[in-house]
Every structure is written in C-alpha cells, then in structure tokens.
C-alpha cells in the first residue's frame, strides 16, 4: 500500500446537505496534528472545485483554520472535505484530490519541515 493507495476510495464520495463531500484518508503511516494540513485541492469531473470546509476529529472549519487547531487527524479517520458543489445521491463523478500535509518531525533542510504531497483519484456514485 503506497501512501496514496486508499487515500480516496471508491466509496469516498457522498452528497451532504446538497453538497459533494469527499472522505480523504491520511497518506502517512501515523496520525498527525490537524495543524499540519497545508492545502487540499479538489477537482470534480476535471473542474477545480472550491473547498467549503474540512472535518476530522474535533475539528471543523475552513482549510486555512486548520493551522490553528490543537486536534489530531487520526490514521483511522477520513478528513471529510465538503465542496461548494451541488450534488445529489446517485450521481456519478470523477474526483481528484491533491493534499499537502506537513510532517512535523522531519526536516528536509534545516528549519524546513518536509511536506508530503499526495494526489489520488476516484470515480464513484454518491451515497
């Protein structure tokens, strides 16, 4: 299982309150602080889609608010990414997620933390 495998599974897509949501698993081997989420970029059917909010553990908010979180993104939990894209159950979409997450204990150069960048794609029917 590469880090990207299983990041976005075929059952990752759902419609929530009329919006498209994607369940994104952590592309790393251990749980990480929510504050290490640097960016989440999503495209739906090839079109960039605005991210409305992300939710995991005790955290719910905009991606940029994750930086101030004290919470943890557990290895077992998906980050629920809610998009500003209207959607209904039963629709089929192709979704690509590009995630950047800082690895807070590895410095790729002195004073510069490693950022793990992973891109995953799936196509599925919305739950």
């Amino acid at each position: 299982m590469t880090m990207t495998e299983g990041m976005v599974g075929p059952d990752a897509l759902s419609a929530r309150d009329g919006r498209l949501a994607v369940a994104v698993h952590l592309p790393w081997y251990r749980s990480l602080p929510v504050s290490c989420v640097e960016s989440v970029r999503v495209s739906v059917d090839g079109v960039p889609a605005p991210v409305r909010s992300v939710h995991v553990g005790d955290f719910a908010g905009r991606v940029e608010e994750a930086a101030g979180s004290e919470g943890s993104w557990d290895l077992r939990d998906p980050l629920d990414v809610v998009l500003d894209v209207a959607a209904s159950p039963g629709e089929t979409h192709a979704v690509e997620v590009a995630l950047a997450v800082r690895i807070p204990y590895i410095q790729q150069a002195p004073g510069v933390a490693l950022v793990q960048r992973a891109t995953a794609r799936t196509e599925g029917t919305l739950r």
Partner: protein, 334 residues
C-alpha cells in the same frame, strides 16, 4: 534485555493494516501467530487513537494482549513534532511537553526503551534523557541510511552518554546503513508514478555514483523536473537516497557499544536481497556483545500496493531469514 539477541517485529511494517483500520489486539495476535515475535516495537501515534492520552483500559488491553500472545514490548516510537505549527519550531519547553507524556506511556505500557528521531537539540536531549532515566526506560536515537558515524547529532548522544555514564541513553541502529543496491520496489514505484524508463535508469545510475548524497540527490531530481508527479517523485527519490547508506558495519565499530536497539530494515518482498548485509550486521552486533533486540522493519509498503505483497507474509519470511542468519533454528509458529 537478555543475554543474547532477541528477534521480533516493529508494527510499522504492518502500516497497510493499521491504515485499513485493523485494531491493535488483532494485529498483535496475527504477528504472534505468524511467529514474528517475541520482540515488539510499536509506534505510539500509529497504534492508539489520541496517543499519548491513552486510557487505563487501553493500557490494560495492551498489557493483557502481549502477555496472552507472548510478545515482549521492547521499543516505543516517540516523536517531537517540532513543526506542529507552520514556519516556526516549538521551543525546547514545548518540545519537552510534547514528548514527556509519550515517555510516561512507554513506561506504563512496559516498554524497555523509546526510539526517537536523531537530532534533538542538546538542552532538550539532556532534559529528555533525565526524564527517561527517572522513568527507568532507555532513550535511543535512530541512525539510518546515509547518517555518518561521526555526525554531530550522533556525537551529542555519545558525549552525553559518556558524561553521565547513564545506561539509559543510546542508539537504535538501522541496517539501512548498509544498502548495497536500491530496492527493486523503488524502480516499480518510480515507473508507476509515470517516470520514463530513461529517467528511471538515470536515477539508479546516479544513486550508484561515488558522490556525496546531497550532490546525488540534486542530480537525480534534475530528471524529475516538469513531470506531472514531480512532487511525489521528489519526496520518493530524496527519501530513498537518504535512507540507503553505503557504510559497512566496521565503519560503525566504535559506536556499537552505544547501540541499545536495532532495525533490520528492508523494502523488497524478496527477502534474499538483504541476506548479505543483514547477516553482516547480525555478526557485527554479536561480536560486539550486543544483547538487545533486532526487529524486522519492512518499508516496502511505501513503494508497493497491497496487491503486490502482504505485510505479514513478507515480515514472516524476513523474520525467518534473520533467525537463520543468527544461527538458531526458526521459531516454532502457532
């Protein structure tokens, strides 16, 4: 510690199973059933939700599970998440507060030692070492890949060890220090990310050059520029080059008395590929009178998909190889 080397497994090797949501008790049972004990290493932030805040029930469940299946909790992987906040590292006080509860948990769960990332700032190192001594657990820092035996961070640990005479401070030695050839699985991963054959060949050729690792990484990354998966390829190539060293055990001879724990790291499911270097390290450790654990550590899950290899099957094959190299009959499996 016993009077001879104890073999076992780090549960890092089962990362695909952790990521798929398997429970700690189920993983412990399967590792024991496969005969991959008795020594056990666990990564705290992998095995327990909310770590290091674990409940009394979690503690009892773990202790009961290892007792029941006959595993020995040797090492707990702990971390100082210095860059929890973007752009600025934690202060030494914050870093201590980050790691101290992890040390407490290691002690509560019955681990003999903790393994931390090499490079702890000296004042913090001293403070963490004192705390480990108070708790009665050893503090070890991992040396792996291209790390030189005279690296300043290694010297810091050795010098504090000499100064304090503490038996609670040392190193975790990772056999990736001696990597005669890049793993086959690394080439597989490069190709699957879409790197053209000519670039895959160039990356391998550059890795083998007689140049410092920084220069080799720079030359290899030049082949990745403009590729759609450049970011992922960069992390993969730089990470692999840094974790595949060309040292021989003799280069580390003077450091071996400080070794308290060891990882027999490998990537390829075909475990024969590490027979020679792992045999050399086991001999070197035996000759040095080492009596800690050597745990099998499979990193191939970073490079391969689940369909390519089963983590426990690969671990079992490697564990059998280690036991064979140690000149003992293979453990009887349940």
């Amino acid at each position: 510690m016993t009077d001879r080397i104890q073999y076992g497994t780090t549960l890092f090797s089962l990362t695909p199973d952790w990521r798929a949501g398997e429970s700690a008790t189920s993983i412990l049972q399967r590792v024991a059933d496969a005969g991959c004990g008795p020594a056990l290493e666990v990564i705290g932030h992998q095995a327990w939700r909310g770590f290091p805040r674990i409940s009394g029930a979690d503690e009892r469940a773990f202790r009961d599970a290892v007792d029941r299946v006959g595993l020995i909790p040797v090492a707990l992987g702990v971390y100082t998440d210095l860059y929890r906040r973007s752009g600025r590292p934690m202060s030494a006080d914050q870093a201590f507060e980050d790691v101290q509860p992890q040390l407490e948990v290691a002690s509560r769960l019955g681990f003999e030692l903790v393994r931390a990332t090499l490079g702890m700032e000296p004042a913090l190192l001293r403070r963490v070492a004192e705390e480990c001594e108070r708790l009665g657990i050893a503090l070890t820092f991992e040396v792996q890949g291209v790390t030189p035996p005279d690296a300043p961070a290694v010297a810091e640990v050795l010098s504090l060890r000499e100064e304090t005479g503490s038996p609670y401070l040392g190193l975790t030695l990772d056999f990736s220090l001696t990597t005669p050839a890049l793993p086959v699985a690394f080439g597989t991963a490069l190709r699957r990310l879409g790197l053209p054959a000519a670039a895959v060949t160039a990356v391998h050729r550059i890795w083998a050059q007689d140049e410092p690792v920084g220069r080799r990484i720079g030359a290899a990354l030049a082949w990745l520029g403009g590729h759609p998966e450049e970011a992922a390829l960069t992390t993969l190539v730089a990470g692999m080059f840094g974790r595949t060293g060309r040292w021989q055990p003799a280069d580390w001879a003077s450091v071996l008395p400080a070794v308290r724990h060891a990882h027999a790291k490998f990537w390829d499911p075909e475990v024969e590929s590490v027979r020679e270097p792992h045999g050399a390290w086991i001999s070197a450790l035996e000759s040095a009178g080492y009596t800690g654990a050597v745990v099998s550590e499979w990193g191939g899950h970073e490079l391969l998909d689940r369909a390519d290899a089963d983590a426990l099957a690969v671990t079992r094959a490697h564990h059998d190889l280690l036991v064979e190299l140690a000149g003992r009959p293979a453990a009887v499996t349940a």
